[in-house]
Symmetry: C2
Subunit: 189 residues, 2 copies
Amino acid sequence: MSATSPRPSARDRLLDAADELFYAQGVHTVGIDKVIEHAGVAKASLYSTFGSKDGLVRAYLQRRHDDRRNRITTGLERFDNPRDRLLGVFDVLAETAAKPDFRGCAFYNASAEAHPSNVVQEEADATRAWTRQLFLDLARDAGARDPEALAAQLVILYDGSTAGARLDRGPHAPALARTMAAALLDAAT
Amino acid sequence: MSATSPRPSARDRLLDAADELFYAQGVHTVGIDKVIEHAGVAKASLYSTFGSKDGLVRAYLQRRHDDRRNRITTGLERFDNPRDRLLGVFDVLAETAAKPDFRGCAFYNASAEAHPSNVVQEEADATRAWTRQLFLDLARDAGARDPEALAAQLVILYDGSTAGARLDRGPHAPALARTMAAALLDAAT
DNA sequence: ATGACACTAGACAGACCTGTCTGTTATCGT
DNA sequence: ACGATAACAGACAGGTCTGTCTAGTGTCAT
Protein backbone atom coordinates (compact mmCIF):
# COMPACT_ATOMS: atom_id res chain seq x y z
CA MET A 1 0.00 0.00 0.00
CA SER A 2 1.58 3.19 -1.08
CA ALA A 3 -1.31 5.51 -1.83
CA THR A 4 -2.94 5.05 1.54
CA SER A 5 -2.97 8.18 3.65
CA PRO A 6 0.63 9.16 4.51
CA ARG A 7 -0.88 11.06 7.45
CA PRO A 8 -2.04 14.57 6.66
CA SER A 9 0.20 17.52 7.46
CA ALA A 10 -0.16 19.39 10.72
CA ARG A 11 -1.77 22.21 8.78
CA ASP A 12 -4.48 19.98 7.39
CA ARG A 13 -5.16 18.28 10.67
CA LEU A 14 -5.44 21.68 12.35
CA LEU A 15 -7.91 22.86 9.76
CA ASP A 16 -9.95 19.70 10.12
CA ALA A 17 -10.07 20.06 13.88
CA ALA A 18 -10.85 23.77 13.68
CA ASP A 19 -13.66 23.14 11.25
CA GLU A 20 -15.25 20.55 13.45
CA LEU A 21 -14.85 22.31 16.77
CA PHE A 22 -15.36 25.91 15.71
CA TYR A 23 -18.49 25.12 13.76
CA ALA A 24 -19.99 22.90 16.42
CA GLN A 25 -19.15 24.99 19.46
CA GLY A 26 -18.23 28.48 18.27
CA VAL A 27 -14.93 30.15 17.51
CA HIS A 28 -14.85 31.97 20.80
CA THR A 29 -15.82 29.10 23.04
CA VAL A 30 -13.24 26.72 21.65
CA GLY A 31 -9.73 27.37 22.86
CA ILE A 32 -6.43 26.71 21.21
CA ASP A 33 -5.70 23.82 23.52
CA LYS A 34 -8.81 21.97 22.45
CA VAL A 35 -7.95 22.44 18.80
CA ILE A 36 -4.42 21.16 19.06
CA GLU A 37 -5.43 18.27 21.23
CA HIS A 38 -8.15 17.25 18.78
CA ALA A 39 -5.73 17.66 15.88
CA GLY A 40 -2.93 15.77 17.62
CA VAL A 41 -0.54 18.61 16.92
CA ALA A 42 1.90 20.65 18.94
CA LYS A 43 1.04 24.17 19.88
CA ALA A 44 4.16 25.51 18.22
CA SER A 45 2.98 24.05 14.93
CA LEU A 46 -0.22 26.02 15.12
CA TYR A 47 1.55 29.27 15.78
CA SER A 48 4.21 28.75 13.16
CA THR A 49 1.54 27.91 10.59
CA PHE A 50 -1.21 30.40 11.32
CA GLY A 51 0.47 33.03 13.46
CA SER A 52 -2.41 33.48 15.88
CA LYS A 53 -5.83 32.21 16.75
CA ASP A 54 -7.32 34.90 14.54
CA GLY A 55 -5.26 33.53 11.68
CA LEU A 56 -6.69 30.09 12.28
CA VAL A 57 -10.21 31.50 12.45
CA ARG A 58 -9.69 33.26 9.15
CA ALA A 59 -8.40 30.07 7.52
CA TYR A 60 -11.36 28.16 8.96
CA LEU A 61 -13.85 30.62 7.50
CA GLN A 62 -12.09 30.68 4.15
CA ARG A 63 -12.27 26.93 3.95
CA ARG A 64 -15.93 27.04 4.90
CA HIS A 65 -16.47 29.49 2.08
CA ASP A 66 -14.66 27.27 -0.40
CA ASP A 67 -16.51 24.17 0.72
CA ARG A 68 -19.84 25.92 0.47
CA ARG A 69 -19.05 27.22 -3.00
CA ASN A 70 -18.07 23.75 -4.16
CA ARG A 71 -21.05 22.11 -2.54
CA ILE A 72 -23.42 24.47 -4.29
CA THR A 73 -21.81 24.60 -7.72
CA THR A 74 -21.37 20.84 -7.97
CA GLY A 75 -24.80 20.35 -6.50
CA LEU A 76 -26.30 22.43 -9.27
CA GLU A 77 -24.60 20.48 -12.04
CA ARG A 78 -27.22 17.77 -11.94
CA PHE A 79 -29.86 20.18 -13.23
CA ASP A 80 -30.12 20.86 -16.93
CA ASN A 81 -32.30 23.95 -17.10
CA PRO A 82 -32.01 27.41 -15.55
CA ARG A 83 -35.19 27.20 -13.52
CA ASP A 84 -34.23 23.99 -11.72
CA ARG A 85 -30.74 25.27 -11.23
CA LEU A 86 -31.99 28.37 -9.45
CA LEU A 87 -34.32 26.37 -7.24
CA GLY A 88 -31.57 23.82 -6.75
CA VAL A 89 -29.79 26.21 -4.42
CA PHE A 90 -32.58 25.59 -1.96
CA ASP A 91 -32.41 21.85 -2.57
CA VAL A 92 -28.75 21.87 -1.65
CA LEU A 93 -29.50 23.95 1.42
CA ALA A 94 -32.22 21.53 2.47
CA GLU A 95 -29.80 18.62 2.12
CA THR A 96 -27.19 20.41 4.18
CA ALA A 97 -29.68 21.44 6.83
CA ALA A 98 -30.95 17.88 7.16
CA LYS A 99 -27.61 16.68 8.50
CA PRO A 100 -27.61 16.27 12.25
CA ASP A 101 -24.56 18.43 12.79
CA PHE A 102 -25.99 21.39 10.92
CA ARG A 103 -25.70 24.53 13.02
CA GLY A 104 -26.60 27.31 10.63
CA CYS A 105 -24.41 29.77 8.80
CA ALA A 106 -20.83 29.57 10.03
CA PHE A 107 -20.26 33.20 9.15
CA TYR A 108 -23.28 34.54 10.93
CA ASN A 109 -22.44 32.41 13.93
CA ALA A 110 -18.86 33.57 14.07
CA SER A 111 -19.94 37.14 13.58
CA ALA A 112 -22.51 36.89 16.37
CA GLU A 113 -19.79 35.88 18.81
CA ALA A 114 -18.54 39.43 18.46
CA HIS A 115 -15.19 40.71 19.42
CA PRO A 116 -15.72 43.20 16.58
CA SER A 117 -13.02 41.26 14.79
CA ASN A 118 -12.87 42.53 11.26
CA VAL A 119 -11.43 39.20 10.21
CA VAL A 120 -14.86 37.63 10.64
CA GLN A 121 -16.63 40.62 9.14
CA GLU A 122 -14.50 40.47 6.02
CA GLU A 123 -15.03 36.79 5.41
CA ALA A 124 -18.75 37.09 6.04
CA ASP A 125 -19.01 39.94 3.56
CA ALA A 126 -17.12 37.93 0.96
CA THR A 127 -19.40 34.95 1.26
CA ARG A 128 -22.46 37.16 1.16
CA ALA A 129 -21.30 38.91 -1.97
CA TRP A 130 -20.71 35.56 -3.62
CA THR A 131 -24.21 34.36 -2.75
CA ARG A 132 -25.81 37.53 -4.05
CA GLN A 133 -23.89 37.22 -7.30
CA LEU A 134 -24.86 33.57 -7.61
CA PHE A 135 -28.55 34.38 -7.36
CA LEU A 136 -28.12 37.27 -9.75
CA ASP A 137 -26.53 35.04 -12.38
CA LEU A 138 -29.15 32.35 -11.90
CA ALA A 139 -31.97 34.89 -12.10
CA ARG A 140 -30.56 36.27 -15.33
CA ASP A 141 -30.16 32.79 -16.81
CA ALA A 142 -33.72 31.98 -15.86
CA GLY A 143 -34.92 35.01 -17.80
CA ALA A 144 -36.16 37.17 -14.95
CA ARG A 145 -37.43 40.58 -16.01
CA ASP A 146 -35.60 42.31 -13.16
CA PRO A 147 -32.79 39.97 -12.06
CA GLU A 148 -31.47 42.32 -9.39
CA ALA A 149 -34.85 42.55 -7.71
CA LEU A 150 -35.40 38.83 -7.86
CA ALA A 151 -31.94 38.11 -6.49
CA ALA A 152 -32.53 40.37 -3.50
CA GLN A 153 -35.73 38.51 -2.74
CA LEU A 154 -34.05 35.14 -3.05
CA VAL A 155 -31.33 36.19 -0.64
CA ILE A 156 -33.99 36.93 1.95
CA LEU A 157 -35.52 33.49 1.45
CA TYR A 158 -32.08 31.93 1.67
CA ASP A 159 -31.14 33.74 4.87
CA GLY A 160 -34.52 33.13 6.41
CA SER A 161 -34.58 29.44 5.73
CA THR A 162 -31.00 29.04 6.94
CA ALA A 163 -31.88 30.70 10.23
CA GLY A 164 -35.11 28.73 10.45
CA ALA A 165 -33.33 25.46 9.84
CA ARG A 166 -30.94 26.19 12.66
CA LEU A 167 -33.41 27.46 15.22
CA ASP A 168 -36.13 24.93 14.43
CA ARG A 169 -33.62 22.12 13.90
CA GLY A 170 -34.62 20.65 10.56
CA PRO A 171 -34.87 21.22 6.80
CA HIS A 172 -38.51 22.33 6.72
CA ALA A 173 -37.76 25.98 6.22
CA PRO A 174 -35.47 25.43 3.20
CA ALA A 175 -38.09 23.18 1.59
CA LEU A 176 -40.74 25.83 2.08
CA ALA A 177 -38.39 28.53 0.83
CA ARG A 178 -37.95 26.49 -2.33
CA THR A 179 -41.65 26.59 -3.13
CA MET A 180 -41.74 30.30 -2.34
CA ALA A 181 -38.81 30.84 -4.69
CA ALA A 182 -40.60 28.91 -7.40
CA ALA A 183 -43.63 31.16 -7.10
CA LEU A 184 -41.43 34.23 -7.15
CA LEU A 185 -39.60 33.02 -10.22
CA ASP A 186 -42.78 32.17 -12.09
CA ALA A 187 -44.17 35.61 -11.36
CA ALA A 188 -40.98 37.31 -12.46
CA THR A 189 -40.48 35.80 -15.90
CA MET B 1 -39.46 66.99 43.29
CA SER B 2 -40.52 63.75 44.80
CA ALA B 3 -41.19 61.47 41.81
CA THR B 4 -37.73 61.97 40.28
CA SER B 5 -35.73 58.78 40.07
CA PRO B 6 -34.88 57.56 43.56
CA ARG B 7 -32.03 55.60 41.92
CA PRO B 8 -33.02 52.28 40.43
CA SER B 9 -32.44 49.10 42.37
CA ALA B 10 -29.31 47.04 41.85
CA ARG B 11 -31.45 44.53 40.01
CA ASP B 12 -32.68 47.09 37.50
CA ARG B 13 -29.28 48.61 36.98
CA LEU B 14 -27.84 45.14 36.38
CA LEU B 15 -30.50 44.36 33.82
CA ASP B 16 -29.92 47.66 32.06
CA ALA B 17 -26.21 47.05 31.90
CA ALA B 18 -26.64 43.45 30.80
CA ASP B 19 -29.01 44.48 28.06
CA GLU B 20 -26.66 47.04 26.69
CA LEU B 21 -23.46 45.03 26.92
CA PHE B 22 -24.75 41.55 26.12
CA TYR B 23 -26.64 42.73 23.08
CA ALA B 24 -23.83 44.88 21.74
CA GLN B 25 -20.94 42.51 22.40
CA GLY B 26 -22.36 39.07 23.03
CA VAL B 27 -23.24 37.19 26.19
CA HIS B 28 -20.07 35.15 26.12
CA THR B 29 -17.64 37.94 25.36
CA VAL B 30 -18.89 40.19 28.13
CA GLY B 31 -17.72 39.15 31.57
CA ILE B 32 -19.33 39.64 34.93
CA ASP B 33 -16.82 42.28 35.89
CA LYS B 34 -17.76 44.47 32.96
CA VAL B 35 -21.44 44.17 33.78
CA ILE B 36 -21.11 45.11 37.42
CA GLU B 37 -18.76 47.95 36.65
CA HIS B 38 -21.13 49.35 34.05
CA ALA B 39 -24.05 48.93 36.43
CA GLY B 40 -22.18 50.43 39.37
CA VAL B 41 -23.08 47.45 41.51
CA ALA B 42 -21.20 45.08 43.76
CA LYS B 43 -20.50 41.57 42.58
CA ALA B 44 -22.26 40.09 45.59
CA SER B 45 -25.45 41.87 44.56
CA LEU B 46 -25.36 40.19 41.20
CA TYR B 47 -24.92 36.75 42.67
CA SER B 48 -27.51 37.23 45.38
CA THR B 49 -30.01 38.47 42.80
CA PHE B 50 -29.45 36.18 39.85
CA GLY B 51 -27.48 33.28 41.28
CA SER B 52 -25.09 32.91 38.37
CA LYS B 53 -24.14 34.41 35.07
CA ASP B 54 -26.54 32.02 33.39
CA GLY B 55 -29.30 33.42 35.57
CA LEU B 56 -28.46 36.91 34.43
CA VAL B 57 -28.39 35.80 30.81
CA ARG B 58 -31.80 34.24 31.20
CA ALA B 59 -33.21 37.41 32.75
CA TYR B 60 -31.63 39.46 29.98
CA LEU B 61 -33.28 37.30 27.30
CA GLN B 62 -36.63 37.33 29.06
CA ARG B 63 -36.56 41.10 29.18
CA ARG B 64 -35.61 41.20 25.51
CA HIS B 65 -38.58 39.00 24.79
CA ASP B 66 -40.93 41.26 26.78
CA ASP B 67 -39.58 44.40 25.16
CA ARG B 68 -39.94 42.94 21.72
CA ARG B 69 -43.49 41.83 22.39
CA ASN B 70 -44.41 45.29 23.64
CA ARG B 71 -42.66 47.02 20.78
CA ILE B 72 -44.55 44.98 18.23
CA THR B 73 -48.00 44.97 19.83
CA THR B 74 -47.99 48.71 20.56
CA GLY B 75 -46.44 49.33 17.15
CA LEU B 76 -49.36 47.58 15.52
CA GLU B 77 -52.00 49.59 17.35
CA ARG B 78 -51.69 52.46 14.94
CA PHE B 79 -53.13 50.34 12.12
CA ASP B 80 -56.87 49.98 11.80
CA ASN B 81 -57.25 47.06 9.42
CA PRO B 82 -55.94 43.49 9.46
CA ARG B 83 -53.88 43.77 6.30
CA ASP B 84 -51.88 46.77 7.49
CA ARG B 85 -51.50 45.21 10.88
CA LEU B 86 -49.94 42.09 9.41
CA LEU B 87 -47.59 44.09 7.23
CA GLY B 88 -46.94 46.38 10.15
CA VAL B 89 -44.78 43.70 11.77
CA PHE B 90 -42.27 44.38 9.03
CA ASP B 91 -42.62 48.12 9.46
CA VAL B 92 -41.73 47.76 13.11
CA LEU B 93 -38.80 45.54 12.20
CA ALA B 94 -37.57 48.07 9.66
CA GLU B 95 -37.73 50.81 12.29
CA THR B 96 -35.82 48.70 14.75
CA ALA B 97 -33.23 47.67 12.20
CA ALA B 98 -32.65 51.28 11.19
CA LYS B 99 -31.27 52.15 14.61
CA PRO B 100 -27.49 52.31 14.64
CA ASP B 101 -27.11 49.90 17.53
CA PHE B 102 -29.18 47.17 15.89
CA ARG B 103 -27.28 43.90 15.93
CA GLY B 104 -29.85 41.35 14.82
CA CYS B 105 -31.86 38.88 16.83
CA ALA B 106 -30.65 38.73 20.41
CA PHE B 107 -31.77 35.13 20.70
CA TYR B 108 -30.09 33.90 17.59
CA ASN B 109 -26.95 35.76 18.57
CA ALA B 110 -26.89 34.32 22.06
CA SER B 111 -27.60 30.88 20.72
CA ALA B 112 -24.82 31.15 18.16
CA GLU B 113 -22.32 31.79 20.91
CA ALA B 114 -22.87 28.19 21.92
CA HIS B 115 -22.02 26.59 25.17
CA PRO B 116 -24.98 24.33 24.44
CA SER B 117 -26.69 26.18 27.25
CA ASN B 118 -30.32 25.12 27.35
CA VAL B 119 -31.12 28.39 29.05
CA VAL B 120 -30.59 30.18 25.76
CA GLN B 121 -32.30 27.46 23.78
CA GLU B 122 -35.40 27.65 25.93
CA GLU B 123 -35.75 31.40 25.69
CA ALA B 124 -35.14 31.34 21.96
CA ASP B 125 -37.82 28.71 21.50
CA ALA B 126 -40.27 30.73 23.54
CA THR B 127 -39.75 33.85 21.48
CA ARG B 128 -40.01 31.89 18.26
CA ALA B 129 -43.26 30.29 19.31
CA TRP B 130 -44.67 33.70 20.13
CA THR B 131 -43.69 35.09 16.73
CA ARG B 132 -45.22 32.13 14.92
CA GLN B 133 -48.46 32.55 16.85
CA LEU B 134 -48.49 36.26 16.14
CA PHE B 135 -48.28 35.68 12.40
CA LEU B 136 -50.87 32.96 12.62
CA ASP B 137 -53.34 35.26 14.37
CA LEU B 138 -52.67 38.08 11.96
CA ALA B 139 -53.03 35.77 8.96
CA ARG B 140 -56.35 34.54 10.27
CA ASP B 141 -57.59 38.07 10.92
CA ALA B 142 -56.56 39.06 7.43
CA GLY B 143 -58.70 36.28 6.01
CA ALA B 144 -56.01 34.02 4.63
CA ARG B 145 -57.31 30.80 3.12
CA ASP B 146 -54.58 28.75 4.80
CA PRO B 147 -53.35 30.77 7.77
CA GLU B 148 -50.86 28.16 8.91
CA ALA B 149 -49.16 28.05 5.55
CA LEU B 150 -49.06 31.81 5.26
CA ALA B 151 -47.67 32.18 8.76
CA ALA B 152 -44.84 29.76 8.01
CA GLN B 153 -43.91 31.79 4.97
CA LEU B 154 -44.02 35.04 6.87
CA VAL B 155 -41.70 33.63 9.50
CA ILE B 156 -39.15 32.92 6.80
CA LEU B 157 -39.40 36.46 5.53
CA TYR B 158 -39.10 37.76 9.06
CA ASP B 159 -36.03 35.67 9.86
CA GLY B 160 -34.41 36.41 6.54
CA SER B 161 -34.83 40.13 6.75
CA THR B 162 -33.63 40.20 10.34
CA ALA B 163 -30.47 38.37 9.35
CA GLY B 164 -30.06 40.53 6.27
CA ALA B 165 -30.46 43.71 8.28
CA ARG B 166 -27.71 42.62 10.60
CA LEU B 167 -25.24 41.35 8.05
CA ASP B 168 -25.82 44.11 5.51
CA ARG B 169 -26.20 46.77 8.21
CA GLY B 170 -29.40 48.54 7.31
CA PRO B 171 -33.19 48.25 7.02
CA HIS B 172 -33.34 47.41 3.32
CA ALA B 173 -34.10 43.76 3.82
CA PRO B 174 -37.09 44.36 6.14
CA ALA B 175 -38.52 46.90 3.68
CA LEU B 176 -38.20 44.42 0.86
CA ALA B 177 -39.66 41.66 3.01
CA ARG B 178 -42.67 43.88 3.60
CA THR B 179 -43.45 44.11 -0.10
CA MET B 180 -42.92 40.36 -0.44
CA ALA B 181 -45.31 39.78 2.44
CA ALA B 182 -47.88 42.03 0.79
CA ALA B 183 -47.72 39.99 -2.40
CA LEU B 184 -48.01 36.78 -0.42
CA LEU B 185 -50.99 38.06 1.48
CA ASP B 186 -52.78 39.27 -1.63
CA ALA B 187 -52.27 35.92 -3.26
CA ALA B 188 -53.51 34.06 -0.19
CA THR B 189 -56.85 35.77 0.43
C1' DA C 1 -31.97 52.24 69.14
C1' DT C 2 -32.01 47.89 67.32
C1' DG C 3 -32.24 44.32 64.08
C1' DA C 4 -33.38 43.14 59.33
C1' DC C 5 -32.28 44.15 54.78
C1' DA C 6 -30.11 45.72 50.60
C1' DC C 7 -26.16 47.09 49.13
C1' DT C 8 -20.94 48.29 48.55
C1' DA C 9 -15.88 47.25 48.13
C1' DG C 10 -12.63 44.24 47.08
C1' DA C 11 -9.55 40.12 48.07
C1' DC C 12 -9.22 35.49 46.76
C1' DA C 13 -9.36 30.64 44.68
C1' DG C 14 -9.22 27.88 40.81
C1' DA C 15 -9.85 27.37 36.19
C1' DC C 16 -8.90 28.54 31.53
C1' DC C 17 -7.11 31.52 27.89
C1' DT C 18 -3.44 33.02 24.32
C1' DG C 19 1.04 33.14 23.07
C1' DT C 20 6.21 32.18 23.82
C1' DC C 21 9.95 29.45 24.53
C1' DT C 22 13.05 25.32 25.23
C1' DG C 23 14.41 21.09 23.84
C1' DT C 24 13.78 16.61 21.30
C1' DT C 25 12.74 13.54 17.30
C1' DA C 26 11.92 12.19 12.48
C1' DT C 27 12.16 12.77 7.57
C1' DC C 28 14.17 14.20 3.36
C1' DG C 29 17.15 16.34 -0.31
C1' DT C 30 21.71 16.66 -1.45
C1' DA D 1 26.43 11.60 6.03
C1' DC D 2 24.53 15.97 7.12
C1' DG D 3 21.91 20.07 7.50
C1' DA D 4 17.38 21.87 6.89
C1' DT D 5 12.67 21.40 7.79
C1' DA D 6 8.71 20.00 10.11
C1' DA D 7 6.90 18.26 13.72
C1' DC D 8 6.68 16.73 18.55
C1' DA D 9 5.92 17.53 24.09
C1' DG D 10 5.21 20.50 27.47
C1' DA D 11 6.53 24.26 30.88
C1' DC D 12 5.68 28.98 31.55
C1' DA D 13 4.06 33.96 31.82
C1' DG D 14 0.46 37.07 32.14
C1' DG D 15 -4.08 37.81 31.71
C1' DT D 16 -9.23 37.01 32.32
C1' DC D 17 -13.03 34.39 33.75
C1' DT D 18 -16.71 32.84 37.30
C1' DG D 19 -17.97 32.41 41.76
C1' DT D 20 -17.17 32.83 47.03
C1' DC D 21 -16.27 35.14 50.99
C1' DT D 22 -15.33 38.77 54.50
C1' DA D 23 -16.34 43.08 56.20
C1' DG D 24 -18.46 47.42 56.28
C1' DT D 25 -22.35 51.06 55.13
C1' DG D 26 -26.87 53.06 54.94
C1' DT D 27 -31.97 52.85 55.55
C1' DC D 28 -36.17 51.80 57.51
C1' DA D 29 -39.79 49.71 60.49
C1' DT D 30 -40.69 48.81 64.93
